[in-house]
Amino acid sequence: MTVVSTASGLLAMLQEQHPVLKLHALTNLNVLVDNFWPEISTNISAIESLYEDEQFHERQLAALVASKVFYHLGELNDSLIYALGAGPLFDVSEDSEYVQTLVAKCVDEYISLSVKASETESESMPLDPRLVAIVERMLDKCMQDGKFQQAVGIALECRRLDKLEEAIIRSENAPAMLSYCLRISQTFVNRREFRHEVLRLLVKSYQNLQQPDYLSICQCLMFLDDPSTVANILDKLLKGDKNDTLLAYQVAFDLFENEYQKFLLNVRDRLPEPAVAGALNPEVGGFANGVVGAHNENGISAMTDGGPMAMDTSEELATLSTPAGGSGDTASASERLPERSPYADRLSKLKAILSGETPISLTLQFLYSHNRSDLAILKTIKHSVEMRNSVGHSATIYSNALMHAGTTVDTFLRENLDWLSRATNWAKFSATAGLGVIHRGHLQQGRSLMAPYLPQNGGLGGGSPYSEGGALYALGLIHANHGEGIKQFLLESLRNTSNDVIQHGACLGLGLAALGTADEEIYEDIKNVLYTDNAVAGEAAGISIGLLMVGTASEKAHEMLTYAHDTQHEKIIRGLALGIALVVYGREEEADTLIEQMTRDQDPILRYGGMYAIAMAYQGTANNSAIRRLLHFAVSDVSDDVRRTAVLALGFVLCSEPEQTPRIVSLLSESYNAHVRYGAAMAVGISCAGSGSSEAISLLEPLTSDAVDFVRQGALIAMAMVMLQTTEAREVRVGSFRRQLEKIINDKHEETMSKMGAILAQGILDAGGRNVAIMLQSRTGHDRVTAVVGMAVFSQFWYWYPLIYFISLSFVPTAFIGLNEDLRMPKFDFTSEAKPSMFGYPPSVAPPTTASAVKLPTAVLSTSVRAKARGARKDLESRSGKSIVQEATATLPSNNQSIPDGPNSNAEILVDDESTATARDENAMDVEGVVDSKKSTSAEPLFEVLSNPARVVPAQEKYIKFNENSRYAPLKLKRAPSGFVMLRDLEPSEPVELVSTDSPASAAAGNTGPSPNAPASTVVVEDNEPPPPEPFEYMPTE
């Protein structure tokens, strides 16, 4: 055995003159290099010079040896250069660590070079063709081995669209690959321009598929801002068969969820007019047109009159609303409907979806009928807050507004008019504006509801400017992002006044209603207000311009910046700073110049705006450089405000990756600077909103008992945002947090700031009748403009409390609303395969609930002995508190029949005398409880049957299962089971059974809004009273 113990002989041979000797030495060294590299490395220069020697034949061999030596030395860059020099001798397919490492290095190098090349925009440095060859060879190999996802990833990183396309085409499952590609392009591609290129490519590939995935195509097109193509696709789908129509509706609903008002309106306007389309069928079409026209007129006149029925132009709504709201015209319209051509009909339905009418009214119905807010909580707050403390007083009003956001339930206000009237000045402003939050989305009747407070045309209205301004703001909130109908009115109100408070309200209202429309006319008017240089009006004007121009990155931003430098008023500068930030929303690198300008400004308020600009421009991107910049400011700026905002802005940038935030801000949350701690708390609250993430809670927990009052305030609010819709069954600390809130509110010695935080936290925790979540991203993973903007302006409440209401923009109802092709809700059941307590409502507050309008009706199951049932009642009460109940009035008999597994013949429903029950609740219990075993009434079932429309919290989505043999099936199975879901009718011949829900229109129709000075109208209170129980027959079961 000849074990060589040294390579020195071979190395000496390299110095020989004769090339044959050198070659022999090299060949042997190539074999031995793995064992003797330390020795060879001392002579590496000899080998290198051999490679550089043009005379030498086997230069490539020398390169290979040199490459291997450098590899062993850990100098991968040099190693790569020589490996490339080795040409064919460097065998990519060899399965050794050396080759694998170098190929990986090669790909890395290529990626960094091509990214650099594409970012500098100049082809100054041509890439090494050998490098390119190796990378392409690897990509090909990848695809041959069927690892297309990896190929797609590398191609995206290398900015190689051609390879990306190839990978998609060659893969066997192109749709899956496309959706994968879409997902990673949204999350991992940092540059906006390149992302758009990828999206264009994706749209192209999608369209080449056998069955194009229109949902995804339209999502892509929305990002590319291409309304006409979307309109074409929708039009094409409408002309197709039933399923295509359903798909078109689904596309429209999904687009609606992303809330790009401008884009949606563009799409709508590009669709053919229903009248024109109907003209194909002249007779009917003409008639329909006439009806629409007449209806239109009627609607507008009703609006301006402030009459009880301000029905909108859509026939859809007319048919959806209950007969109570039906005037003669609407009735005739619905009668005529069937006569119209199906295409025109579909078209108008589609338009109704795109303009938001249908989804908003459906949402409103859902929130109203499922409202489960607990008035007892508000009562406790009200009693514990001192009379003279105006902060606590208005905080209670804010809290009430948030709790009932979008539900139209203003019982609390009506019951406490005396108490309410204590609000003066700005408190009055926000009290009035609170109505807007409560009635959010009540598009038809918003005007009439607010009428008593609105400025009268003559300008002689006796109302205080505060309530008038508040009412205008409220109108904006009601119509947020869907303000077509109200824009004009708000604009006129703005023009007709010179009072700064009314201007303030009108500006905010206009900004909200015309969110992101970039309407020039409105802009000019608001600008005029701004140039009056009034601090109060100017602040609102600044924010309003921002709202108007969201995401346009227009030149107006510079105009605003100039004015911010000119004016003396801090309030105006602050408003403008935030406005500028909103203008660059989502523009990423494009906004960098402006951001740089703002963050270098001498004025801390503008730097503060710069932080918001980073937050808005890079929201949801988790962009590393943005995070780095923010962290830098968070620790180095001299102004506390800037530092606080910088940390807070992290929450926006990271809102797509909530798991990251607690880790990143954990150190900041222990900062000595209270402002930074506050910012950290809010950042976690914003990005982890509704996640119930345990790290976030652990981070916030110590902050809720911080030494500084405003940190506590921020932490409490943030905690409420994190715990939104999280049950005690999922996270134990929810219960203790609720108790903590109660304690703080009742504590006499607690500082006002944290008390206010606790009251607001209560409102957020139970927001929207416990049926909404805060979602800054839509279900498809894209950002929701309104929500992010709302959250950003909300975080300004530090300076201006009325801005608290902006948080209601980020509320999304957590509903599953299944619709058939008529856009109505058919009866439809599905199961949630989790314990009901996992995702149910929190139990209502116990003792003094006598006056609580939402106190649960008590349901009792019968077993053989009635007395037993009575004994078990307590258990049931707590149980029924957790299960899904349709609270409002519902008719017993029809519901009874609708449930397939209805009560057994020997199990009868017994209803207590004083209580009424909804049939669905009972049935659900029957199915679970009685059928399983008659005795174990207290054992919790493992699943739960939900009926359309149902509350499905985001975390619950993965437990949702659709019954196989149900009559309806969702159109797209892969889509998350939440939001608006189009249902396919598998038995079209059967008569359709619809869910009967009372819309809030009927409830509010009777009264034209309460006035704080007038006695409470009793209509609403009565309406919430459950109806008397249905007659029943008592039959002993045995």
Binding site: S5, D34, W37, E39, E97, S705, A707
Partner: protein, 488 residues
């Protein structure tokens, strides 16, 4: 666990059975994998080493049956090795349950963590080495290494480092270290690429040991200088590294560095590593002698080392006196020891130092002495003794060994007056180096401290306490303010 009970009755000693320890180790490993906590892995290994002496074939095989899924390749292979030991061991106790019962015992898990598998390998290898089944250990460890190369898990690093060590040990015991050099180099490369720093360290040490075993000092130094070293992760590996480095430096005549390395190695080594510390002390003693220093007597009188260090003690004595005769006698007497320690070539180098020490003694004793006398005192008995003495003296003067001058024409050596050392900066420097050493030790100790994460958060005060404190502060402030008022 019927088996456990049996084991307990078989061993009436109070200590719990080794099997329980091993099972606890499994729990630790699983926890460590789940939490990605390396410390737990190291603790698991420590637990195993604690019961190493008490391991029996039956224990090992029942552990294997417990830890590995039945029917897996690793299980059958490892059981094979253990069974061989069982067969070879005549004095086996009879209470081992029959193999049938073992296999029928419920396996712990169907799929097994690679960490657990490695742990089982490690256990068997150690067991085999302890039982002197070295060839088996060699085969088993090779199999383990081959298996390890299939994984790329950072949680394996700690176990892998141990496996490398025993792999090398089993080959060293069978004197075939050269065979695995290539494998070790490949493993080292892999460890470097994967940023497995513990593995890197261990493998580098094994490679150095491998080279030094064959006296390939030059290659060892080349490898060492070409590899990047990060901060050390394991104290043991650092000790070894310093020891090898000291040896290399000694051979390369860089005695000052070598001394530092060797002393540090000896100091850092745990007190239980007696053999290692003896080796370090031996080398350090020689290096110090080569540097012209005389180690303190206490160095050789350390507890438990006296006998092993005796040859070196005698050697030091000879050098101290500067008696060439005595030196030669000691070197001859202990030649076998020095050969075994591979210090023989250094002993040869020492001869010069003996002469120099003698010379220094002479220069201290005599202010002027003729070179002839010097030659006779040094026992230079060659033909040209005086010329030799002259050259030796001149060289010693140039090296700074003695402070003297040579008068070549008159043939004598003139010593210079020794000044007062306390008038120089010498003592200050000595103090400085000592202080620096102490500070350094302190800093390292502080750095090595581990704090439980988030312990400070528990100390946050509750709302009530805060209010109380603020109240008190307020009162205090009021009090002070009142006092201030009183003064006016």
């Amino acid at each position: 666990m019927g088996l456990d009970v049996e084991m307990k009755t078989a061993e009436p000693a109070a200590a719990p059975s080794p099997l329980i320890h091993l099972k606890a180790a499994i729990a630790l490993i699983e926890k460590g994998v789940a939490k990605k906590e390396m410390r737990l892995m190291a603790r698991a290994i420590r637990q195993m080493l604690a019961v190493r002496r008490r391991l029996k074939a039956s224990t090992v095989s029942s552990f294997l049956n417990y830890a590995l899924p039945s029917g897996s390749e690793a299980l059958s292979r490892l059981l094979g090795f253990v069974a061989k030991v069982e067969l070879g061991d005549a004095s086996m106790e009879v209470d081992t349950p029959p193999s049938m019962a073992q296999s029928s015992q419920l396996s712990y898990k169907q799929s097994v963590l690679p960490e657990l598998e490695s742990f089982s390998y490690l256990l068997v290898i150690i067991f085999l080495i302890d039982q002197k089944h070295l060839e088996d250990a060699k085969v088993c460890s090779s199999a383990a290494i081959k298996r390890l190369q299939q994984f790329n898990r950072r949680t394996l690093d700690v176990l892998a480092a141990r496996l490398y060590f025993y792999y090398s040990l089993s080959y060293e015991r069978t004197d075939s270290l050269a065979d695995i050099r290539g494998t070790l180099l490949a493993l080292h490369r892999t460890a470097t690429l994967r940023h497995d720093e513990l593995g890197q360290e261990t493998l580098l040490n094994l490679l150095l040991r491998n080279y030094l075993h064959y006296n390939l000092y030059d290659q060892a130094e080349k490898l060492r200088s070409k590899t990047l070293r990060s901060d050390s992760h394991s104290n043991q590996q650092l000790c070894r590294y310093l020891y090898y480095l000291g040896k290399i430096r000694t051979i390369q005549l860089e005695y000052t560095d070598a001394k530092e390395c060797l002393l540090q190695a000896a100091r850092k080594a745990p007190s239980s590593a007696r053999g290692f510390r003896i080796q370090c002390t031996k080398w350090a003693a020689i290096v110090r002698l080569l540097l012209g220093e005389i180690p303190e007597r206490t160095t050789f009188m350390q507890q438990g080392m006296r006998k092993a260090l005796l040859p070196y003690f005698e050697l030091t004595n000879a050098v101290r006196i500067g008696d060439l005769e005595l030196f030669r006698a000691v070197a001859d007497k202990n030649a076998s020891v020095f050969y075994a320690d591979k210090t023989h070539n250094l002993i040869v180098r020492l001869r010069h130092n003996v002469i120099r020490t003698g010379l220094r003694n002479i220069s201290i004793s005599y202010s002027r002495i003729s070179l002839r006398d010097v030659a006779s005192k040094l026992h230079l008995d060659s033909a040209t003794a005086v010329a030799d003495a002259e050259s030796i003296v001149t060289k010693a003067i140039r090296d700074g060994g003695i402070d003297a001058s040579v008068d070549h024409s008159k043939g004598w050596m003139q010593s210079k007056e020794t000044g007062d050392i306390y008038s120089t900066q010498e003592p200050q420097q000595a103090f400085h180096s000592r202080i620096a050493f102490c500070l350094n030790t302190h800093n390292e100790a502080v750095k090595a401290l581990r704090f439980p994460p988030d312990a400070h958060k528990k100390e946050l005060e509750s709302a009530e306490k805060r209010r109380e404190r603020q109240q008190q502060e307020l009162e205090l402030a009021k009090h002070i303010a009142e006092e201030d008022d009183d003064e006016f």
